[in-house]
C-alpha cells in the first residue's frame, strides 16, 4: 500500500471530462511532479484531491479514501494545498493570510508559525505587509506558508514557478527540498517547467489532455524521447 494512491480517477466540469482514469501512487517522503502543458489537467488533479471538483474513482491517503469528503475534512486528514498563482487574500497582511491556513488547526499555531518563519525569514520581517504589495516570489512563500499552517503530511503545490524569475525558481526549489528533507513531507507538485520538476522530484508523471501518458523516475525519463515528444511536441 502506497501513501497516496489514485485509482481510476476521473474528473468532470459539468459534462466535460477533464481527467480520464488516472492511476498512480506516491510513496511517503517522496517528491513527485506532474508535468504537462496548459489544459492537460494538472490543476484539476490537485483540485480533485482537495474535493473541489466532481470526480469518480478513488483517492486514498494512508489507506483512507478522501472521496466524498469536504475540503475541510481533507485538510484535517493531512493534506495541504498551495494553489496556482498563489490564490492569496490580497488586502490582508502576510500574518492574516497565514492565519486563514491555521483556521482548522487548534494547536501548534505558534510552533507552525515559527517553523514557517525559519523556512521563509522574509515572511516574519514583512508579516504586517499586505500581500497585494508583495513580489511574486514573496507571494509564493505566503502561499506555501499558508498550506503548512495545518502541519500537512502531504503538500500539493500547483505550478510553484509560474511567473517567477529563474533565481526565484531556484529559491522555491530549495525551500521545497528543505521541507521534504527536514519536515519529512511528501510533496506533489504540478509544473510546466520540466527542468524545475526534474531538479526537484524523484518521479515524474506526464499528463496530456487529461490522460496519464508517461511515468517513471527522473533518471529513466531524462533522455526519454517520448517525454520530448509529449511535452515539447518534437
Amino acid at each position: 500500500m502506497s501513501f497516496l494512491e489514485f485509482d481510476n480517477l476521473s474528473a468532470f466540469y459539468g459534462k466535460a471530462q477533464a481527467l480520464r482514469d488516472i492511476s498512480f501512487s506516491v510513496e511517503q517522503g517522496e517528491i513527485v511532479a506532474i508535468i504537462g502543458a496548459n489544459g492537460a489537467g494538472k490543476s484539476t488533479l490537485l483540485d480533485s484531491i482537495m474535493g473541489l471538483t466532481k470526480t469518480s474513482g478513488d483517492i486514498r491517503l494512508d489507506g483512507k479514501s478522501l472521496v466524498g469528503l469536504g475540503s475541510a475534512d481533507i485538510v484535517k486528514s493531512g493534506v495541504g494545498y498551495a494553489p496556482e498563482r498563489f490564490n492569496l487574500f490580497p488586502f490582508m497582511s502576510v500574518r492574516d493570510n497565514l492565519m486563514v491556513g491555521a483556521y482548522t488547526a487548534r494547536d501548534d499555531i505558534e510552533k507552525n508559525l515559527e517553523a514557517i518563519h525559519r523556512l521563509f525569514p522574509r515572511l516574519e520581517e514583512r508579516e504586517g505587509q499586505e500581500t497585494s504589495t508583495q513580489s511574486g516570489g514573496e507571494r509564493q512563500m505566503v502561499s506555501l506558508g499558508r498550506a503548512l499552517m495545518t502541519s500537512p503530511r502531504v503538500l500539493l503545490v500547483d505550478e510553484p514557478t509560474i511567473g517567477l524569475a529563474p533565481k526565484l525558481c531556484d529559491e522555491i526549489a530549495d525551500v521545497l527540498a528543505r521541507m521534504n528533507r527536514e519536515l519529512k513531507m511528501t510533496i506533489v507538485i504540478t509544473e510546466q517547467n520540466a527542468n524545475f520538476a526534474m531538479k526537484l522530484a524523484s518521479r515524474l508523471y506526464v499528463l496530456e489532455s487529461g490522460e496519464m501518458r508517461i511515468s517513471g523516475t527522473v533518471d529513466e525519463l531524462r533522455d526519454d524521447p517520448r517525454l520530448m515528444e509529449a511535452y515539447f511536441g518534437h
Partner: protein, 315 residues
C-alpha cells in the same frame, strides 16, 4: 487576536466623549445623533455580512423589518412585555437570516444582490396583504410602546446599543472568524482550498448580521413608536445603509459608524440650504468622489491623517 492598546484607548475615548455629549449639544442635535446611532447599527449589520464576505445584500430592510414588526406586533397586539418581545424579534430575524442565506449556497455577485432585493419586496408585499389586522397593512402601526422618554434618554439607549454592538462585532472580527469572513470576500475558492468550511462561515456571517439587524430594528421601532412599511422597505433606505458602510470604510466596523454619522449630519446640515431631494446630489457626489479616489473610505482617510501626524511628531 490582533488588538493594539491604542485601539482600546480610542474606543474608550469615543465612549467617554459620547457619554458627556448631551451636556454639550442641543436636543435637536441629540435627535439627529439618535438616527445616526441606529443607522450605524444597520450599517454594522450590513458590513458584517456584505463588507466582509462580499455577498452584497440589497435586502437588509427585510431583516430590520422582521425585527421591528415582530416586537411591534407582540407588544401592541398581544401585550407581550418588551423584555420578551425583543429577544423573540431577534430570534425571528435570525430565522429570516437563515432564509436569506439559502440563496448564497447557489448564487453570488449581482444575482445574490437581486435575490436579497426580492426578499425585501416580498416582505413589503406580505406585511400589506397578510393579516393587515396584525401588521397595520399599508398604513403600518403607531402607538407602539416606547422605551424611553425625551431625547437624552433616547440618545443614551441608542448610543449604548450601538457602542456595545459595534464593540462586540469589532472584537469578534479581530478573531480568526473575522479573518476567515474577510478572506471569503477576497477569494472564496482559496478559502475552501485552505480547508475551511465556507458554508458554515457564511451561515455565521448571516446569523451575526441578522442578530444585529434584528436587535437594531426592534429597538428602533420602540424608539419611533411607529412603523411605516413604505419608509422601511424602501430602496433609498437600503442605499443609505450601504453608502454609510462603504463611505466610512467597509469591512472595518468603525468605518460604518463614521459613515453613518457623516451621512446623517451631512444630510441634516444641508437641509436648510437644500430642503428637497437636491441634498442627495451632494451626498451622492461626495460618495462618488470617495469611491473613485479613496475606496477604503473615511476610516482610511483618518488613518492616513493619524499616520501623517505621528510621522511629523517623530521628526
Amino acid at each position: 487576536m490582533n488588538i493594539r492598546w491604542y485601539h482600546l484607548a480610542l474606543w474608550a475615548a469615543f465612549i467617554i466623549g459620547m457619554i458627556y455629549l448631551p451636556q454639550l449639544v442641543s436636543k435637536g442635535t441629540l435627535r439627529t445623533i439618535i438616527f445616526a446611532n441606529y443607522l450605524a447599527i444597520f450599517a454594522i449589520s450590513w458590513d458584517v455580512l456584505s463588507g466582509r464576505t462580499g455577498y452584497v445584500s440589497f435586502g437588509h430592510p427585510f431583516l430590520i423589518g422582521l425585527g421591528a414588526y415582530t416586537t411591534a406586533i407582540l407588544t401592541k397586539r398581544f401585550g407581550v412585555p418588551v423584555e420578551i418581545s425583543i429577544p423573540a424579534a431577534v430570534l425571528v430575524t435570525m430565522v429570516g437570516g437563515s432564509l436569506l442565506f439559502l440563496p448564497a449556497l447557489r448564487v453570488r455577485g449581482s444575482y445574490f444582490a437581486l435575490v436579497t432585493l426580492a426578499f425585501m419586496e416580498l416582505m413589503y408585499q406580505l406585511v400589506q396583504v397578510i393579516r393587515p389586522d396584525l401588521t397595520g397593512g399599508t398604513r403600518g402601526m403607531s402607538g407602539i410602546q416606547t422605551l424611553t422618554r425625551g431625547a437624552v434618554n433616547g440618545y443614551y439607549l441608542s448610543f449604548g446599543l450601538m457602542a456595545s454592538l459595534g464593540f462586540a462585532m469589532w472584537l469578534l472580527m479581530k478573531t480568526r472568524l473575522g479573518t476567515a469572513l474577510s478572506a471569503i470576500g477576497m477569494n472564496e475558492e482559496a478559502v475552501r482550498g485552505s480547508g475551511l468550511n465556507t458554508t458554515k462561515l457564511k451561515l455565521a456571517a448571516f446569523m451575526l448580521s441578522a442578530f444585529v439587524a434584528g436587535l437594531g430594528g426592534a429597538f428602533y421601532v420602540h424608539y419611533l413608536g411607529s412603523i411605516a412599511p413604505r419608509a422601511l422597505f424602501d430602496i433609498n433606505f437600503v442605499f443609505t445603509i450601504i453608502v454609510a458602510a462603504i463611505l466610512g470604510g467597509a469591512s472595518t466596523i468603525i468605518g460604518p459608524i463614521f459613515g453613518a454619522f457623516f451621512l446623517t449630519f451631512l444630510l441634516e446640515y444641508l437641509r436648510p440650504y437644500l430642503p428637497g431631494a437636491e441634498r442627495y446630489f451632494i451626498y451622492g457626489g461626495i460618495a462618488l468622489l470617495l469611491y473613485m479616489y479613496e475606496p477604503k473610505g473615511l476610516h482610511h482617510v483618518l488613518q492616513m491623517a493619524l499616520s501623517a501626524i505621528k510621522g511629523k511628531s517623530r521628526s
